[in-house]
Symmetry: C2
Subunit: 93 residues, 2 copies
């Protein structure tokens, strides 16, 4: 059925985005686990760049009609909360 | 037909990517046309960021199976040639 392909693309898009979000989450966790170590000065730059890349992918998927806008916003929102938790933790260190 | 939706998505993806590439091209042209003016120091940063965003969209479309890898590379390649032409021109100014 035509809509199968549509669901297929939407599912695949969501799968790819979740995998990319997971990569960023792992980057955040690595930093969180190594707070006692001298912070790599570029980690915020790396995370910002990755977040920008993911947001462009999400925007692209939404424009393609493969993802609901609110779903994309939820994905970015949860990562941003993790990022600010990391930022807080690194300030308290 | 199932493949109609697939073509539809591919066509739409290509359309979106071409429109985004066009936006970058216009940014380059504006700089090219205003070489005699003091260069906005951030224009290279802006263009780099936009190129990074577009490359992530292209990579996403390729991973989704909506775009041929070589088509994406051709798109980025032609913009990079425009960028180096701009860079050359600004050095000769």
């Amino acid at each position: 059925m035509a809509s199968d392909v549509n669901i297929n693309h939407s599912e695949k898009a969501l799968e790819l985005l979740k995998a990319d979000a997971e990569k960023i989450l792992r980057l955040i966790k690595v930093q969180m686990d190594n707070l006692t170590m001298p912070q790599c000065p570029l980690y915020e730059e790396v995370l910002d760049t990755q977040m920008f890349g993911l947001s462009r992918e999400i925007d692209f998927a939404v424009r393609l009609g493969l993802l609901e806008d609110k779903e994309g916003k939820a994905m970015i929102g949860s990562l941003e909360r993790e990022l600010s938790a990391l930022h807080e933790a690194s300030l308290k260190k």
